[in-house]
């Protein structure tokens, strides 16, 4: 079974600064997908960025980018030019390639963006 670990329960960053959220995972699979989801107080999980394990190039979506280190099983999220609207819980998730290809989530990091 896969496990996903987020070792930072809470992070704080000032507006316009850059912050990096950590995620490690454990799997015996060679092909899989990784995701970062954002969950604001509204509870809706919003997809931030995805990474395919067979692609060496790190994914980027506007102010969001990842540092994917497959050998180290590490998948960190960098948020540049942080905005107040980035305040939320952030979950790292692993998607297997089984029948369901279900998501396995970490315990989340609460990010607070301050003025």
């Amino acid at each position: 079974a896969q496990t996903v670990t987020q070792s930072q329960p809470e992070m704080s960053v000032q507006e316009a600064e850059t912050v990096t959220l950590s995620c490690t995972y454990d799997t015996s699979e060679s092909n899989y997908y990784l995701f970062w989801y954002k969950q604001p107080p509204s509870r809706q999980m919003i997809l931030v960025i995805r990474q395919e394990a067979y692609k060496q190039q790190n994914a980027t979506e506007n102010r969001f980018s990842v540092n994917f280190q497959k050998a180290a099983k590490s998948f960190s999220l960098k948020i540049s030019d942080s905005q107040l609207g980035d305040t939320a819980m952030y979950f790292c998730a692993f998607m297997d390639t089984g029948t369901a290809s279900k998501l396995t989530f970490g315990t989340g990091t609460r990010l607070q963006v301050t003025l």
Partner: protein, 113 residues
Amino acid sequence: GAGVSQSPRYKVAKRGQDVALRCDPISGHVSLFWYQQALGQGPEFLTYFQNEAQLDKSGLPSDRFFAERPEGSVSTLKIQRTQQEDSAVYLCASRIRRGIGAFFGQGTRLTVV
């Protein structure tokens, strides 16, 4: 609809009561998932449908939990004889194909008193 819709948003049930939670996925999405999110935790997988077929129910915590998707669109998660430990947010997600990532609804917060 434009997104995944779940109802009700909030449900308070007395212990022992049966509840039914509804999920209306994005039109055309073949895959549908249910997740349970306890307070302060990440979501945990409950069950998976591909169209009307329930292909994986390995995450259902007990036989009091039952899910269906009879026509391959709307899904219902039913919990019989609710217990306090069932209190959680129940999230529904749908996906058009593997690898894209799932789209989630806003969840139903169930409180068992």
